[in-house]
């Protein structure tokens, strides 16, 4: 630093600007500036001095479009573009004749793209007055880290129990599932916890409550508040599979608050104005992208949800628009290749739920499927598209299609497209099932043609077996006639080989059943009738171990109805993450008849029946995938008896207080006895081997048969 500079700085420190009295000067020149007419434009190109006049001319023309520029005001010619080292500095000032023009310029031209590389940022100069007055730079306060404890605390429960959320009246409580006993509260039920519903993230890490102002996340051992996501009047929420992102939707478009101060607190910028759909980063709680609702969804009563669908690993997400698919890459949330994917008439799409095991591919394959309807010059189509290449892996052309539903098998080895077709007359509907075999060369498609229309379809988890509920579209809509057919499908086997063709192993006709709920571990499945007037649960075993199965170990299916249970008024049913328990409930959101919940064992044995006035919802807390390796799991299975012993004792104790006391007493007795005996062990060790025992071989004789023979 030069000595003069140092001197100057010293001087500046000594003389305080505030101490100088300018009042005489101000009075003399009547210096009063209103900044309302001025705007500050940033983001303009940095141009060499020679080009500046042209640039000014261009900008003057642009900014004149919203109002008259004051060419005779404080600024010469109405525009001032500062220069430095023979170049413009990228910003300029404009003086309008009126405040309204300046306002309009901000509203209309802020964010205006001048060219590919230059976006103008327009602000009113008077905004400066609204800036905080602190002269010194205040370092923003970093909030102290607030620990909510171990987020996966519930997974280390010594008894391996699952947590549940019970929502009744205005209360939401988190409990431990105690099977037939009263659930044990994890936290005190909270009144007014949510204004609508509560929801867990997909791996169970966070619990969310919905409020008029937005969404609130909770977690850790005591369910402390973690983050708030401000989204006015939020209605629907959804998550990426790995909990990295949350999507929220509100019917109220985002509007920026008026005051600058509030805007600073507001999570959204100007670019989000009018948007309804928001993607949030779950880790920092900030919005990463906002979207307006596609025009065809505005004013729709029933909103398809989710509107943003995620690839299995959160790497991509996609939105469907009219005639196009928008695929975004995370974490930038830029459009893949900066372009929409044009798909004329796209009706629906689904991501494969895992990496698709394509033949000759060892890398992770992101695949999505979509379908387009028939048009005047084209058949209906189902296609598989690879992402990010956008290569179409396979298409199938279809005729006379009314609707398609795409069901991916959860290992992505199969895609079943349920195609509802109409007869030529268009009067009756029937279904085809098209199976895309993604693991095989060129992805062959197997078709099952049915006379019925399939109303429900569900793959068994981690398997190629599935169940359909179907009915004949015979034009008789009388709902009192039970005419649904439940069909259990599996690949036919001959010897121990499968020919790969599906076969209906069991059909049950004349049912009202409308719901299929597979155990998350497979094998067991509930076929339910969810209806207002009646409710029924049928517990099936799809691989029932009996004589038939033991005779033919390769038999893929052996269906057995384990139990039928009635539950009138049942509105929902859900398996626990382990597949041991089924919760069914009657929610006051749908009707007020017999509200409450029941817990069944997977075999259909009723464990708990709790009628609760104004019962709303039962939620099992999801679990993340197990961290155990396959060999670990094998070890557990082979030592199941020993593992289960400890839990059985707990179970018995839970069942009965008296039994519990007895068990605890026995434990004490056992402990005391071991203590008593332990003092002898040392003594005995020393004494041992004094006596030499003889090993005696014992020969046991068994008379197998006695015969009397007469010898002549």
């Amino acid at each position: 630093m030069l000595p003069e500079e140092e001197e100057y700085l010293q001087l500046e420190k000594e003389i305080k600007l505030d101490d100088i009295d300018f009042s005489d000067l101000e009075e003399k020149y009547n210096f009063e500036i209103t900044l309302d007419n001025y705007i500050l434009v940033d983001g303009a190109p940095i141009a060499p001095e020679s080009k500046v006049p042209i640039l000014i001319k261009v900008l003057k023309k642009l900014f004149s479009s919203v109002g008259e520029i004051d060419e005779n005001g404080e600024i010469k010619d109405g525009i001032y573009m500062p220069l430095e080292n023979g170049k413009s500095k990228g910003y300029l000032f404009i003086q309008y004749k009126s405040n309204e023009s300046a306002e309009l310029a901000v509203k209309k031209l802020n964010g205006k793209k001048l060219d590919q590389n230059h976006r103008l940022l327009v602000n009113k100069l008077s905004d400066i007055e609204n800036l905080p007055e602190d002269k010194e730079f205040n370092e923003p306060e970093i909030e102290p880290f607030k620990s909510v404890g171990y987020l996966n605390d519930w997974l280390v429960d010594s008894q391996g129990r699952d947590q549940i959320v019970l929502h009744f009246n205005e209360n939401v409580g988190v409990y431990w599932n105690k099977k037939s006993n009263e659930p044990e509260p994890v936290i005190e039920p909270r009144k007014g916890f949510t204004s609508k519903y509560s929801k867990f993230s997909p791996k169970g890490t966070y619990l969310f409550s919905i409020h008029p102002q937005g969404v609130q996340s909770w977690g850790g051992k005591d369910f402390k508040s973690i983050k708030r996501f401000f989204h006015n009047q939020v209605r629907l929420i959804d998550f990426s599979p790995n909990e990295n992102y949350m999507v929220t939707l509100s019917p109220i478009p985002i509007t920026l608050p008026d005051s600058i101060h509030e805007r600073q607190q507001f999570p959204f910028g100007k670019e989000s104005e009018g948007h309804k759909l928001v993607i949030w980063d779950m880790n920092n709680g900030e919005p990463v992208r906002t979207f307006a609702l596609p025009p065809h969804l505005e004013h729709q009563k029933e909103m398809p949800w989710p509107l943003v669908k995620w690839s299995f690993d959160d790497k991509y997400c996609a939105r469907q628009g009219p005639d196009a698919l928008a695929i975004y890459e995370t974490p930038s949330f830029n459009l893949l290749d900066k372009k929409l994917v044009k798909i004329d008439g796209i009706q629906d799409f689904e991501w494969a739920p895992s990496s698709v095991p394509l033949q000759n591919s060892k890398q992770i394959e992101h695949v999505l499927s979509y379908w387009t309807p028939e048009s005047s010059n084209q058949t209906a189509r189902v296609a598989l598209m690879s992402v990010p290449s956008k290569e179409i892996l396979r298409t199938v052309n279809l005729f006379q299609v009314s609707d398609c539903k795409m069901h991916w098998q959860d290992q992505s080895k199969l895609l079943c497209v349920k195609v509802d077709r109409h007869t030529k007359s268009g009067k009756t509907i029937f279904s085809n099932l098209e199976f895309f075999k993604t693991t095989e060369k060129d992805i062959p498609v197997e078709k099952i043609e049915l006379k019925d229309v399939v109303v429900n379809f569900a793959f068994e988890p981690n398997s190629d077996k599935f169940i359909t509920i179907s009915r004949l579209d015979d034009g008789n809509p009388n709902p009192a006639i039970p005419k649904n057919t439940i069909t259990f499908w599996a690949k036919e086997t001959k010897g121990n080989k499968t020919n790969g063709k599906y076969k209906a192993y069991k059909e049950i006709e004349n049912k009202h059943s409308n719901t299929i709920v597979w155990s998350p571990k497979g094998k067991y499945v509930i076929i339910a009738t969810v209806s207002r007037s009646s409710g029924e649960l049928e517990f099936f075993d799809f691989l029932f171990d009996d004589e038939i199965l033991s005779k033919n170990k390769n038999l893929p299916a052996n269906v057995k109805l384990l139990r039928t249970e009635k539950f009138s008024g049942m509105t929902n049913l859900s398996w626990d993450p382990s597949g041991r328990f089924l919760a069914c409930w009657s929610s006051s959101w749908l009707h007020l008849i017999e509200n409450g919940y029941k817990i069944y064992e997977f075999t259909g044995n009723l464990l708990r029946d709790d009628s609760i006035d104004q019962f709303k919802e039962f939620i099992w807390r999801p679990r993340p995938e197990s961290l155990l390796s396959n060999s670990d799991k094998k070890k557990v299975r082979s030592n199941l008896k020993e593992y289960s012993a400890q839990f059985e004792e707990i179970d018995v104790m839970e069942a009965d207080a008296a039994v519990k006391e007895a068990i605890l007493a026995r434990r004490k007795q056992l402990e005391d006895w071991r203590k008593y005996r332990s003092k002898f062990h040392e003594i005995n060790k020393a004494k041992n081997d004094e006596a030499i025992e003889e090993t005696i071989e014992e020969i046991k004789e068994e008379i197998i048969e006695e015969k009397e023979e007469i010898v002549e």
């Binding site: 030592n639 020993e642 593992y643 012993a645 400890q646 059985e648 004792e649 018995v652 104790m653 068990i663 026995r666 434990r667 007795q669 056992l670 006895w673 008593y676 002898f680 003594i683 005995n684 004494k687 006596a691 025992e693 003889e694 090993t695 005696i696 014992e698 020969i699 046991k700 004789e701």
Partner: protein, 352 residues
């Protein structure tokens, strides 16, 4: 606990005692007839009989090496037999009927209880044995020690040496258990084990058997319908097992933590009681938890004596009906565990 017993039908009258040798291959039995029997425990074949007593034989015992076997009877005789040949090698005369005989753990001493009848004061006599084969028939006629067991006008019914041979434990007619110095005959400790858990009038102690693992504790059975487990050193009652009939015998099982009790309504009471069942079953209790876990039927009269195979694979019971039933335990017996034991086992195998 379904078991398929071998029925030994060699005695003509009620069994009084059954006993395994150390290896368990042989089973020794005595009854109210005048011949003792030796059986192969595995198949129930009779090895032979020991004949020589003139009446009821109350007690039998075999030394650790299965060289010698001793019997005591109502004929005022204590007899020593050579097992291999079945010969009676020596006979002591007793002043009154012999209720119990027992070898010490080293096989070098023998005790015999002379009953307090016929004007005789109840005694425990201890004989030092000559264990060389050549001296088998050259035993000292006189006991090395005589303990008078009269206590408050009661008498000793059963007795046995402790593991180290220092003490003799004896069960009395009045429900007391006494511990004597086996060299001096001094009464060291005494505890009332029976007559305190129930209201029964007859509180006579009927059997004493030691823990198979190290004889550091023992079980007593009594007509007071209970059995107790007592620690040798502290002489404290560790456990009490309550039954619904007078108990004549009790044994502790190796391998599993069980005890077996045997008894039943006495024949003369059976017809007069409403419970004509008689309760002639071997009762299995959990040794530590004192809970009954099972019963084995089979005898037509009260069980007078039970003995457990030393390797824990089975047991034998002798009944008032004159039969011996030799049982082999099945898998369910070994699998049976209480909840607390299961979780203890799971913990031990390192799964928690």
């Amino acid at each position: 606990m379904a078991m398929r017993p071998i029925k030994l039908m060699g005695h003509e009258r009620s069994l009084t005692q059954v006993k395994y040798n150390r290896e368990g291959d042989l089973l020794f039995s005595v009854a109210k007839d005048n011949a003792a029997s030796i059986w192969f425990s595995s198949n129930g074949e009779r090895l032979g009989t020991l004949e020589g007593h003139q009446g009821v034989i109350w007690s039998i015992d075999v030394d650790p090496e299965t060289n010698l076997c001793a019997t005591g009877g109502g004929d005022l005789a204590i007899k020593l037999w050579k097992v291999e040949t079945g010969q009676c090698v020596f006979t002591w005369e007793s002043p009154s009927p012999v209720r119990r005989v027992a070898f010490s753990s080293d096989g070098k001493r023998l005790l015999a209880i002379a009953d307090q009848v016929m004007g005789h004061i109840g005694t425990i006599s201890v004989y030092d044995l000559k264990t060389n084969e050549s001296d088998f028939n050259n035993q000292d006629i006189k006991p090395s020690l005589i303990i008078e067991t009269d206590q408050n006008n009661s008498k000793s019914n059963v007795a046995n040496f402790t593991q180290d041979g220092k003490f003799i434990i004896s069960g009395l007619d009045n429900g007391y258990v006494n511990k004597y110095d086996s060299n001096t005959g001094e009464l060291i400790q005494s505890i009332q084990a029976h007559g305190i858990h129930t209201e029964e009038k007859n509180i006579s102690i009927t059997d004493i058997q030691f823990a198979p693992e190290d004889k550091s504790y023992f079980i007593t059975s009594s007509k007071d319908k209970t059995a107790t487990l007592i620690d040798v050193e502290s002489f404290e009652i560790l456990k009490v097992y309550k039954a619904d009939a007078p108990m004549n015998t009790a044994a502790i099982t190796p391998v599993k933590d069980f005890v077996i009790l045997g008894g039943g309504q006495e024949a003369r009471n059976v017809t007069t009681t409403a419970e004509s069942q008689g309760k002639f079953e071997a009762r299995f209790y959990h040794k530590i938890f004192e809970e009954e876990i099972g019963r084995v039927k089979g005898h037509f009269g009260p069980l007078n004596t039970v003995a457990v195979h030393p390797n824990g694979a089975g047991y034998a019971s002798g009944g008032e009906d004159g039969f011996i039933r030799v049982h082999e335990f099945e898998k369910s017996y070994f699998d049976f565990l209480f909840d607390a034991e299961r979780s203890e086992k799971a913990a031990a195998s390192g799964n928690i």
